[in-house]
Amino acid sequence: MGKGKYATAIKLLILSPYLILIYILQSTVFTHLTLFGTKPMLLPVAAVGIAIFRGRVEGGVFGLFAGMFMDMSYNQPTIEFTLILTFTGILLGALSDTVLVRGFPSYLLCSALQLAICSASQILVMTVTQSIPIPALLPVALRQTAYSLILSLPFYYISRFLTRLI
């Protein structure tokens, strides 16, 4: 175990209250605070913020736990979003480490992509398991993506602040 590994673990430990707070907010306050009857997805945009500013390792680990909490807030087994947010966390973190500029346009673009992947996954699951036609699900998917994207703005500044802090 090298010093670097401890440093990463400590940084992630510092981020854990932030993650838990978002989980609590998503599963309590924002289930009531709906826009046109739609609830937002906060954990995916928070995971994007960490991946963009912290890179592939911390982005991946944060994505793993954010995904688990996301599944728990949806009352479902920790499979769907656990996998999605981990893989996107690693991928976006790797992009951020190599080619992406760590700024607001990149963050917004990645958040939109992340939310689109999450919504597409939900649509896919419902279409396959319950044979619900895609056009019936699309309006809700678009509304939740738009609402979550609006709320992604504060997460950009929080992620940037946390990154500078740790």
Partner: protein
């Protein structure tokens, strides 16, 4: 690619796959449970979520008081006028009330379900998903609650069914959810069908009564109750009232649109039916 993702990235991805496989196995083994992560985290998050839900409820009341004061005052004046009007219609109201009481006796819920054992529960939190309708309640298997148990309001109106349970809490899928199914019967006509959640109707807090057949005699306002077929739900639980008739997108299958009697989104205190005598 290996350099792009890095060795640590691969380890994290493997960890995510392991978590997903463990969740799938725990669900398969425990049958209907929402996974080991929920079971492990529930003791920690249950009190926090409960407190936050109470806080949100209080804030909503304050919001209503502050921002809807004028509206409420105007409504109060309208209601006072309405009271005077109602006093004039008292006789008619009494007749309606008596008829209502008679219908309840006809339904005979209490008489036919003396055997029902109920466990009071409180709603802790709602799902954050826009594609499903479920919530978590404050008691679990240690209170005798099991997967499949029906959940009702204090009036006996059906709300949903327990779909996963830990020792201290359980998840309830409401009848608005697209996965929910229960055999139903139209109280007035005796026509049968299957109540199921529908994605389009979910946002309007309505459900679908399908498989009703072309000969069914269903009128708007008819009462829909559980049929009791299959033994999962007691017969005679009030589901709601028919608010319209429609046909499927193919144009071949008629279905009734049912407005649940339970105020599903607003119910904070509910009852899980843990035991009842099956009457076929």
């Amino acid at each position: 690619m290996k350099d792009f993702i890095s060795k640590k990235g691969i380890y994290i991805a493997v960890a995510a796959v392991v978590v997903a496989i463990a969740a799938a196995i725990s669900v398969a083994v425990s049958g209907g449970n929402s996974g080991f992560a929920n079971m492990l985290s529930e003791p920690f998050f249950k009190p926090i979520k409960g407190a936050m839900t109470s806080l949100v409820g209080s804030l909503e009341h304050i919001y209503d008081y502050m921002y809807r004061y004028d509206e409420l005052q105007a409504e109060n004046e309208r209601l006072l006028a309405r009271v005077a009007e109602l006093e004039r219609d008292y006789r008619e109201y009494t007749e309606v009330s008596e008829e209502n009481e008679r219908l309840h006796k006809l339904l005979g819920f209490a008489e036919r379900h003396e055997d029902i054992v109920m466990e009071p529960v409180s709603v802790i939190s709602w799902t954050a998903s826009n594609f499903s309708s479920s919530f978590t309640v404050s008691k679990g298997t240690s209170a005798g609650i099991a997967v499949g148990d029906p959940i009702v309001t204090a009036n006996g109106y059906l709300v949903g069914q327990v779909t996963s349970a830990t020792s201290s809490s359980c998840t309830v899928t409401t009848l608005l959810d697209t996965t929910f199914r229960v055999g139903a019967v139209i109280y007035e006509s005796g026509d049968t069908g299957v109540i199921s959640g529908d994605h389009q109707l979910m946002k309007e807090d309505r459900v679908k009564l399908a498989y009703i057949g072309d000969e069914a005699n269903i009128m708007t306002g008819s009462t829909v109750v559980t049929s009791g077929s299959g033994g999962l739900f007691p017969a005679g639980l009030v589901i709601g009232k028919v608010s319209g008739i429609s046909v499927s997108s193919s144009g071949l299958d008629p279905f009734a649109i049912v407005e649940p009697s339970a105020d599903i989104g607003e119910s904070a205190h509910l009852y899980v039916i843990t035991d009842f005598a099956v009457s076929e």
